[in-house]
């Protein structure tokens, strides 16, 4: 399994044709207390860069973009009852959705962990 990152602070875990998407620990830290997550519909066809989900903190709503194109095959239903999972475990239990990748070459544009860390340090 390999993990990729976007400059919009999403992470993407790829295993075969399946990608799991969430927001990074840095992003949850910036957003603060998360009180609601609107995940995409299972079956939705996402294009890279589309609005895919909305994450709501006490104060504000933020869009989460589709880091990769593909069809949504699963969403993290645990977030419905416990949106704060995104704060406590952004890069594991707080994942948002899974897609079947439609264009693996998109991954070439994403960062690896080292590059993402350098990107965040530069912010």
């Amino acid at each position: 399994m390999s993990r990729y990152f976007t400059d919009e602070h999403e992470w993407v875990d790829v295993e075969g044709d399946t990608a799991t998407v969430g927001i990074t620990d840095y992003a949850q830290e910036q957003l603060g207390d998360i009180v609601f997550v609107e995940t995409p519909e299972v079956g939705a066809a996402l294009e890279q860069g589309d609005d895919a989900a909305v994450v709501e903190s006490v104060k504000a709503a933020s869009d989460v973009y589709a880091a990769v194109s593909g069809e949504v095959i699963e969403v993290n239903e645990a977030l419905e009852d416990e949106p704060a999972l995104v704060n406590s475990s952004a890069e594991e239990d707080g994942w948002f959705f899974r897609v079947t990748l439609s264009d693996k070459s998109e991954l070439d544009d994403l960062m690896d962990e080292k590059a993402y860390k350098a990107f965040v340090d530069g912010l």
Partner: protein, 381 residues
């Protein structure tokens, strides 16, 4: 998130102190302001249980002096200022000549002059409007060298009592003798403080005007107490929303008249009868309940917060109103909001629909405050 405009933003007297406490600073009302320290939720709940210290130095502090100051102010506000006793505070509205709300403000009769606290984002416009309206024998001074701190929460009085603040003159009350909407002059060592029992969180608490050069010393002394933590603007906003208090520039502005904004209590009886304030004709034509729209509270059915700008819609999806403040209530653990709705739908319990990002969200019109006020009111005799 980062921006190049930072250079044009002004710094609060407590700027470096906030940063030392780990504040995340954001642009607000022309200043770099602390939006949060440890997190909005924790800070909000701390304030409801103990006491929070807010830096509200961006707000405008103004003094009006002169024989006719109260009468002159009454020409533009609908509050009964000339009847305000020494040491008493009144919430009132600065009205345009057509009755639109230019600002909301607190007016204190200090016994020597009128002391006004106005919103930060509007203070320069307010002062220009005052100067244009006030007669020449009333002088206005903008207290730019004073900071303003708000200590809010059920433990605020207990905390303030530990600071050894004394009355300006022997025999006068100490700060904790004040009731809600009372104020007085005090000394903390050799530092003069103007303290009022007021705030905008729904909690008991105090607003403390202090010379800017001493603000850090006072903030440090308060936050050294076990009851007190510094709290950011984020929690100030969620607290005032739970308290049902409208925020200028969001829940009211120059396009809204007082009755529409559900601020009838700010239209004092004597002044309504006299009808001699700015916009009185337009304002009184709507009194007490003859408006097309009304500000109401909303409880959101479900967990998704609705935000300022979301549309109130009818059964056919037509826009009939708008959400003006919305967020998640840390105390109630569910989303709450304020909105303007047609008066016919303003009754408590009415089900309404809000559309946000293409999604219909059902809400119920609710009584405000959402969380009961905890003011230290003078007992009724």
């Amino acid at each position: 998130m980062s921006d190049n405009k930072t250079e044009t933003l002004k710094k609060l007297p407590l700027d470096s102190w906030h940063r030392g406490f780990g504040a995340r600073m954001v642009p607000f009302a022309g200043y770099e302001m602390p939006v949060q320290f440890e997190g909005v939720m924790a800070e909000h709940l701390w304030t409801r249980e103990y006491a929070g210290l807010f830096d509200v130095s961006h707000m405008g502090q103004v003094q009006l002096e002169g024989e006719g100051a109260a009468d002159a102010l009454e020409a533009i506000v609908p509050g009964n200022i000339s009847a305000l006793g020494a040491g008493k505070i009144r919430y009132t509205l600065l009205l345009a000549q057509d009755g639109g709300i230019l600002d909301d403000l607190m007016v204190t009769n200090t016994g020597r002059n009128l002391y006004l606290v106005v919103n930060g984002a509007t203070k320069h416009d307010d002062i220009a409007y005052f100067n244009a309206q006030l007669p020449s024998d009333v002088t206005l001074s903008h207290m730019e060298d004073s900071a303003l701190l708000a200590l809010q929460g059920p433990k605020a009085a207990e905390a303030l009592a530990k600071l050894n603040i004394s009355p300006m003159q022997p025999g006068w009350p100490v700060p904790t003798d004040l009731y809600f909407m009372e104020a007085g002059p005090f000394m903390w060592g050799d530092i003069p403080l103007g303290i009022s029992r007021s705030g905008y969180t729904g909690e008991d608490g105090f607003e403390i005007s202090v010379p800017a050069e001493h603000a850090e010393k006072l903030a440090a002394a308060l936050c050294a107490l076990e009851e007190v933590k510094p709290i950011g603007l984020g929690a100030r906003d969620s607290l005032r929303l739970e308290a049902g208090l409208p925020l200028y520039g969001h829940d009211m502005d120059a396009d809204v008249l007082p009755v529409e904004a559900n601020l009838n209590f700010a239209l004092s009886k004597a002044r309504r009868e006299e009808g001699n304030f700015a916009g009185a004709e337009q304002v009184l034509a709507q009194y007490p309940n003859k408006t097309d729209k009304k500000r109401v509270g909303l409880l959101v059915n479900g967990r998704q917060p609705i935000r300022e700008g979301a549309s109130v819609v009818d059964a056919d999806g037509n826009h009939i109103g708008a959400v003006t403040s919305g967020g998640f209530s840390p105390t109630l653990q569910k989303p709450i909001a304020m909105a303007y709705v047609p008066t016919a739908l303003a009754e408590t319990g009415t089900e309404i629909t809000v559309e946000q990002r293409g999604k219909a969200i059902s809400c119920t019109v609710a009584d405000m405050p959402f969380v009961p006020h905890n003011y230290h009111r003078k007992p009724k005799l």
